[in-house]
Symmetry: C2
Subunit: 256 residues, 2 copies
């Protein structure tokens, strides 16, 4: 692993539950020696990717990230364009909706909306990367991605998140094939045992998948009847989302 | 310069005017050899800080930045807290307002609002870091910062942005002293020759400056009368901004 990757991966330890991390904890989390970790933290801080808190000396994510996010949004405003679509769908169906963008062989959450209509809500962690093999969004993307991405996912580690996570090659290929036939990825308790979801890929101007729009429903209130009410609205919203990104569904897409 | 810094600084070349940068242009911009630049770009892309466009092969800022920005905002929502204050002030005074946060010895813009009431507007570049010695926000921050920061700025390079930029030590110290007496930093054509500004620092819970709230007025319509109308509203908004961050003005602050 390169030095740059080692440093950047340290940023991924931050989450809603862990907004501040000290030097000692970074040493434990990375398994690297203190001098190396300290040097990496120093460079990240110097460039504004971390900031050190005055009293505790712990680190949190720094202001450079906000600035760069604003630059990306100014020139490529996916988040701003998708926000109203995600919020409207969440309001219409009363369930959590999220959009994520492809980042290497994972999906990176960029926006979610939770109408909070029910007592049971899905706990959505914005910091958590979504694995392609265990999520409905992953299936929806793999179904229309270049074959190399599918091979990379199937050839890589396939962690088991719940008893329902599919980890063998043939079953995964069958799931991707089903998503290709329907245009919709489906996951039942495969990433979180209390959660079901359906997703549709979003596409760029070349018809390549760039991310996915997903509806997440707690398994306790998921039923085929409920999904059959949600699905037409999800399909309309996904078409609108691809359109707002300046993209087009590929010719082979069944919802085209 | 460390490898991590070399890689992270490549992200700073992106701006509203330059949303996509190719390998050849990165080689020119960095002055480093192609193999090194290519390796750095590869690591940044692999970690989602860049993404490569399918047709042009150029790079743009990647989705990991949006995800990390969302994590920071979830746990430390400066942008969300400051946005309504910045927008309200901009609406009230009809001029551009921005807030920036301290990042090392510079200020990093995080949010701005432009009511666009006039034919002449300030062109505000979200990608541009603000130097402490040449901006009103920098004066407002330096006036209440630890002496080490002031020494670091005065001891570092002091680029001249316009004919009005102050670059000698004594004059800069006098400007900072005036900002300490009034609580307000003032800049007339020192960073952009068509622009004037006034700023007030924002503080954390320990009374240390963390950033600044600034009003920017094109020099063509700036007058002392106009500033005397703006100033009371800027003072109220800066107090509200520090308060919303959970901060307090230091005991020595004249606006306390």
């Amino acid at each position: 692993m390169g030095t740059i990757t080692k440093a950047l991966e340290m940023l991924n330890f931050f989450s809603r539950e862990k907004p501040e991390i000290g030097l000692g904890e970074f040493v434990r989390l990375t398994g690297r020696d203190k001098a190396t970790v300290h040097r990496h933290l120093g460079e990240l801080e110097e460039n504004g990717f971390l900031e050190q808190l005055p009293v505790s000396r712990a680190y949190r994510l720094g202001p450079a990230i906000l600035r760069l996010a604003a630059v990306r949004e100014t020139t490529h405003p996916a988040r701003r364009l998708l926000r109203p679509i995600v919020s409207q769908l969440a309001d219409d169906i009363g369930e959590l909706v999220h959009v994520s963008l492809l980042q290497g062989a994972q999906l990176s959450p960029v926006f979610h909306a939770d109408p909070k209509c029910y007592g049971t809500q899905v706990h959505f962690d914005v910091a958590e990367m979504l694995p392609l093999h265990a999520t409905s969004s992953g299936q929806a993307v793999l179904a229309f991605a270049a074959p190399e991405l599918c091979e990379r996912v199937l050839g890589g580690p396939l962690p088991r998140y719940t008893d329902e996570t599919t980890t063998d090659r043939e079953s995964l290929l069958a799931m991707v094939e089903r998503a290709r036939e329907t245009g919709i990825g489906k996951a039942e308790r495969t990433f979180d045992e209390e959660v079901t979801s359906e997703s549709i890929a979003l596409f760029d101007a070349a018809g390549q998948p760039v991310g996915a729009l997903a509806v997440i429903v707690p398994a306790v209130r998921a039923s085929e009847e409920k999904w059959s009410q949600i699905r037409p609205l999800l399909i309309d919203a996904a078409r609108a989302a691809t359109h707002s990104l300046g993209g087009v569904l590929p010719p082979s897409h069944p919802l085209k």
